[in-house]
Each structure stands twice: as C-alpha cells, then as structure tokens.
Subunit: 124 residues, 2 copies
Amino acid sequence: MTVTLHVCITCRAGQTLMEGETAPGARLHSAILAAGVPEGVNVVPVECLSACSQGCSIALSGPRRWSYVYGRLSDASAPDVVAGAAAYAAAPDGIVPWRSRPEIFRKQSLARIPPIAVVAEAAE
Amino acid sequence: MTVTLHVCITCRAGQTLMEGETAPGARLHSAILAAGVPEGVNVVPVECLSACSQGCSIALSGPRRWSYVYGRLSDASAPDVVAGAAAYAAAPDGIVPWRSRPEIFRKQSLARIPPIAVVAEAAE
C-alpha cells in the first residue's frame, strides 16, 4: 500500500531567513529526496502543517491507518525520516513496533490521529 | 457528512493525579458531551493522541478533509471545541474561514494533515 509522507517546505524553524536563503523545511524536503525514497512511500511537499513552533515537521498518513506528525526536525533528520517512513509503509496498519521506530519518531511526536472513520453514508 | 472528534481521555495534562481522580482528558470528554454534540459530529474517546506535553488534546478528521489537532485544552474549552467542531462539520472540505474559528483553534493548533490521498490501487 502506498503511504504519504508530507513535508512542510515553508517551515523556517523559528529562524529569520536571509534573502534568497532556502527555508529549513525545503532543505529537509531535498534531503529526504536525496536520501532515497523507499518503495511504497509518496513524498508530497506541503505549505504549512500548522506546527510552526515545533518545526521542521513531517506527517505520515495512509488509508485505514493512524496518521503521525513529527517535529523539531532538520535536514540532518532525513535518513531517520526515510527509515521511519519505510517501516510505516511496511506495517499493514501503520503501527510500527516501538523499538523499530527511529529515535526521532519515539521522542519527537507532535500528534497522532486514529484512522479516518468510514461512516455509514460513505460505505453505502 | 459525519466528521469525527477524537478526545484523548487518558491525558493527565502534566498533572499528578490523586487516586480515584478523573483524568483531565476524561473531564474534557465529559464536558464536551455535556455541552451538546452538534449534528454531523461523532465524538470518539481515544487513549493517547501522542501530544502528551501539550495536553489535553483533541483531533478533528473526516473523509477527504484536512485533519486538525489542538492542544493545551481543559474542560473549560468544551463550548469552544463544540463550536469549532460544528463549523468543521459544516465546511465541505473541513477548511473553516480563519475568522470563524474559535480562538483556541486559531492559537492552539498542534498540527494539521492534508486529506488522505486516495491512491490508484484503492480507487480501482
């Protein structure tokens, strides 16, 4: 199953940027692409995940799965983000055993959301 | 369309509870039910939204909608949570105009996640 890794590319991570300087969020996005996107993971840039005070931030989501948001990241986090995204994609319900999660996923969670409910009106 | 309001009922909001004391998250859940659940909103208790340092927390989600997580709430927030959930349910894409959001939704966002992508394999 394909999962989505959203990366906030507008995040300034609390920094004041010089003119022409690349935003930390965009640097993280580039670093993730450079680290190699795992099979089953679709990397999608997004403008703002509304976690500005805890940036840079990313979100993992997919149909019938828990969604996760992680923060306080930088481009140096890219290899761990990629590894964590691969583990998430490989877990049928998106729940990766605690010990198999990269440290940033264990310690820098901002939030998780249960799977979207399939309501009766949509299922009919 | 029915949307889901998840309320973390295990949240201690950083407090040490006395034996038998109701957790702040459970109090928030009760206060939301007492405030009156709006039409189109399904209130679902959940054990941990992984936003423990920013509790109490809630999440709003629904099919083909942005999801939102809010934090630093208490049972006193219940009327605003209910009003915000009603506005979210009434907005077809879940995006409520900024000025129509309760103040806690404007100032206490923990994260938002774009709608779950409907991947080709699921659409076939």
